[in-house]
Symmetry: D2
Subunit: 336 residues, 4 copies
Amino acid sequence: MTKIALLTSGGDAPGMNAAIRAIVHSCQHHQYECIGFFHGYNGLLNDEWQALTHADVGNILQFGGTILKSARCPAMCLPKGPKQAANTLRKHQIDALIVIGGDGSFRGLEALKAHWEGQIIGLPGTIDNDLAGSDNTIGFATAVTTATHAIDKIRDTANAFERVFIVEVMGRHSGHIAFNVGLATGAEAILSFENCDPADTAPQLARLISQIQVQQQHNHDSFVIVLAENLWPGGPQALKAQLAEQAGIDSAVCVLGHIQRGGSPAPEDRLLATELGLEAVNAVSRNQDRIMIGKQGSTLQAVPLSGAINDGKPVNGRWVAAHEDVLTEYLIKHSE
Amino acid sequence: MTKIALLTSGGDAPGMNAAIRAIVHSCQHHQYECIGFFHGYNGLLNDEWQALTHADVGNILQFGGTILKSARCPAMCLPKGPKQAANTLRKHQIDALIVIGGDGSFRGLEALKAHWEGQIIGLPGTIDNDLAGSDNTIGFATAVTTATHAIDKIRDTANAFERVFIVEVMGRHSGHIAFNVGLATGAEAILSFENCDPADTAPQLARLISQIQVQQQHNHDSFVIVLAENLWPGGPQALKAQLAEQAGIDSAVCVLGHIQRGGSPAPEDRLLATELGLEAVNAVSRNQDRIMIGKQGSTLQAVPLSGAINDGKPVNGRWVAAHEDVLTEYLIKHSE
Amino acid sequence: MTKIALLTSGGDAPGMNAAIRAIVHSCQHHQYECIGFFHGYNGLLNDEWQALTHADVGNILQFGGTILKSARCPAMCLPKGPKQAANTLRKHQIDALIVIGGDGSFRGLEALKAHWEGQIIGLPGTIDNDLAGSDNTIGFATAVTTATHAIDKIRDTANAFERVFIVEVMGRHSGHIAFNVGLATGAEAILSFENCDPADTAPQLARLISQIQVQQQHNHDSFVIVLAENLWPGGPQALKAQLAEQAGIDSAVCVLGHIQRGGSPAPEDRLLATELGLEAVNAVSRNQDRIMIGKQGSTLQAVPLSGAINDGKPVNGRWVAAHEDVLTEYLIKHSE
Amino acid sequence: MTKIALLTSGGDAPGMNAAIRAIVHSCQHHQYECIGFFHGYNGLLNDEWQALTHADVGNILQFGGTILKSARCPAMCLPKGPKQAANTLRKHQIDALIVIGGDGSFRGLEALKAHWEGQIIGLPGTIDNDLAGSDNTIGFATAVTTATHAIDKIRDTANAFERVFIVEVMGRHSGHIAFNVGLATGAEAILSFENCDPADTAPQLARLISQIQVQQQHNHDSFVIVLAENLWPGGPQALKAQLAEQAGIDSAVCVLGHIQRGGSPAPEDRLLATELGLEAVNAVSRNQDRIMIGKQGSTLQAVPLSGAINDGKPVNGRWVAAHEDVLTEYLIKHSE
């Protein structure tokens, strides 16, 4: 009987539970055995696991987090970790390992593959949406939803005070969250890797100052800046200080932080996770190996794991242009 | 100077405000004049309108409803209505009319075209997602989100009581909402046009009864049936009665109703509405006519208005199969 | 060692889990043993239970439903049920039984007392808030919150269409939910037991019609009627038909239903449930018996169980007057 | 004709709009004229105002922020400000001024009184709940709700990673938000003014470290610390550094920030604001002066403005004890 192992790894993402559920149901459909390892790759190193049947995955798809727990596992970057993990898989006579995680987790999977003969399948699970091969990753829609509703709340108080807010959103080194959230909230400015060079922020700062001044002089309204984490040297507090020093602009800082990682998954994430989870087991049955299952448009795709990690997935350039050339053009026009 | 008129028509859908905002910004970018008519086509019949500039559309994209109000307008199906509407457009020297609405609204647009020389552009705005030419319609994601979270709440009480619930969702005559919501909530049964013949519900009823009995005997858990509106003869109350009469199964009925039409739009709807709104004005500038702007994958598409109305857009068959053949297979297996 | 049994009974209410958690923690503080029976009184009849320590109640206070399940138990109204329940309690050497539920559950507790020597303590757990002796019952705040946000959504579509909506809320035979929700949503009319005689609805109907007509003629706006369940003969559909027949007024009906019973409990319910749960065990340690623990103002109170059941708790008359004499006066004035 | 002026001042709080609406309706009931000044006291200094009738306050009670805008106004602390404000009030022949705000706003009101003969009435509007004379202030329930649901999300990722989180909540110099939110989320530790001396944090730090170590060794679970703003010297980052340095404990910091000020008001805040708003105008009609309207239990109270500002309102001591002596006792016991 084919036996599948599964684990969730790296930063947890809402929808991981829905993926686990789908994998387990699909295993039962294919009459495969399924076991889950706990705490990411640590579960493989420590041989911590449980068998999974449909009774174990009832009533979990609506909850954030992951019933298998997650963790980062630095040992997988050392020579010893992957070997030990391979031994555990061999001991349990695992035929295929499915890992739900981000690029670090996929690198671990590749490292493991050097020591293990079984199939390896990745599912894109990260709120940052920074994996190629799938339009969206599991957790991204929920993070965007949470950040959007948080900024809606901030907008209320920003409007009442006609105030400038700098709101830092997650995204690691990509602007997917920043641009989705910035456009969804009608942010007056979006500062992200796609439109701002961290090595030379002066032009962006000058432009921002002139836009804020236009807004304050002409529209008497709030001004929300959505800032991608890891972009601005010194972070949002540095930006706040620069606005104050260079133009006497008072602003408030909000770092949305880990609320973006949790919460009941958005329906979109539940559906994506369900589809990808079902297809991962189908891929095992087709003897596919070293792939990530993604969704592009409405099509499920198996893409090489290496490509998912290494190929970038840029933010839609149309969006960047729409934001700067059309939606906030009234600020630019007035400032010239 | 090019002059664009815009209105929202038919059942309102969350995200219509975001579309209005984007159209107005895009008009300013193209240096077009923009006016909005109120109450759908009635505004054209009664010459009720206001000029729209970016100051009028500040701080609206996060709210449900539509600042232009909406309405159904039976007069547009009579010969007189479209003529009168055309007169109003001529009087205001309108070059292009953009209508955000569903298939009824698009039929009105076609009727109007027979009497008017300007360009007509439709944007898909309906929670039902029943228009061809766009993967999603504006409002659909919000309706799915609202219904999903409502059923999450119902699941709590269903679990506490190990009870059977029949939950009716909207969708007019398509199962897009039913299947999205059913899969997103892990519904034990989804009854919709795609998997159930309203003219012969007996087989579906028999199957449902046997699945409920399996669940009650083996799993001792709740059982949620997501039912598409307009499907079951006699509606959810008839289904409840049949379950009681034919198998002694007690169930509770919830009709989610109009909560699915309102609320702050989901980020996905705000983004879709923004993209479609911007593109609608671009289409005017390209002299396009009798089209609907849709989004397929990540590509914006102009499709013939007639196609949007008449070509069906089926629910993804993979989803129907996934639900019945894999995700609820444990109920079927046991019941054999 | 003192041994406490606990169960949740009757209609489940969000916050029951928080009460269970507090009781278990308080038992450990007092060094009491604690066991929970499942499915309300059925657990006593069927001897279905589990021991409860703090590890069993981690991470449950934020979830709706009840980990002990709930049920109605008609057998407790027959002579045999209470006897059998008493035998189970004796078998487990229970010193005190804590029941979280509504008036039916408390009647069961009283019936049981006739056959059992232990202490009985009730905690008010019902969304209807229809128990005397506590300002609020566990679950009430969540039901009000859910219904309020649902009507906010309905208001969006009502505004877009300038439409009349009849929204039925729960409450059994009291207007606590109706008045809290009606006032919180700015409903134009609230129909409940406090201001409408079910045996003679004609005056209320006439008044309602004249108010709707004022609104439609003068304010051109939406009109939301919050209707208490079990009030209007024939229910909301009858009211809709009467509005249509007697005045040609078109309206839409929404029955909010069981979404009011579920969902993550509002903070207010979590806090109330926690305080009452802790105090219930304190009451056991003080040898109190045949009481319900309630909260009045900021004071915890032990009230006789019989009073909680039999004394009515009227809706604040100030609220009824505020709604009719002040907040909706503009409708009445114009209609005179 | 009596003429009432009203303004919202200081940090905005969800529910202010509901209070404005109630005041306007109550003015119409009493046949008083009502005007609103913008931007807090600045509106008085700049003579920026609008007349308010019920048409102006339709459809606002469900939204955060304030239609009258708010601001801090340092000029009111100088001799000139109050004089100028008094002149504006005299110019408009105002009989009574109602201010919705916190203690700073009430001090401004007192300063104004020295130069003006009209009646002054305060309504408690601040998320911090730090005014005596009213059990709750307008905005407090919403802030608690927002922070609670935010920590629910953080709990998901904390559980997945079995991680320590330090979550800073607002509250200025009181622990009302910290204790309500900490208890509502089942926080393992609450650090606030009521149980921690900012001048000597060493004992609290030692206790915290030992509790975290117990949790990590015995329960293998997440650990959430709710920290009141302005308490810990150096803020949450300092606490994080101390946990790392003194005990090698890794933790993550979230500062919830301004999301706590915005959002659709909780029903509780809408109801409180409505009651207080109606009563404020009643107080004018009774010739009351220099009072704040509060609600204690279910009773509306007029309290001297000076008392509202100067008398402290401590956090319920029962709650502090419940948290430390009962709900988290398992952490303390194991650590001994």
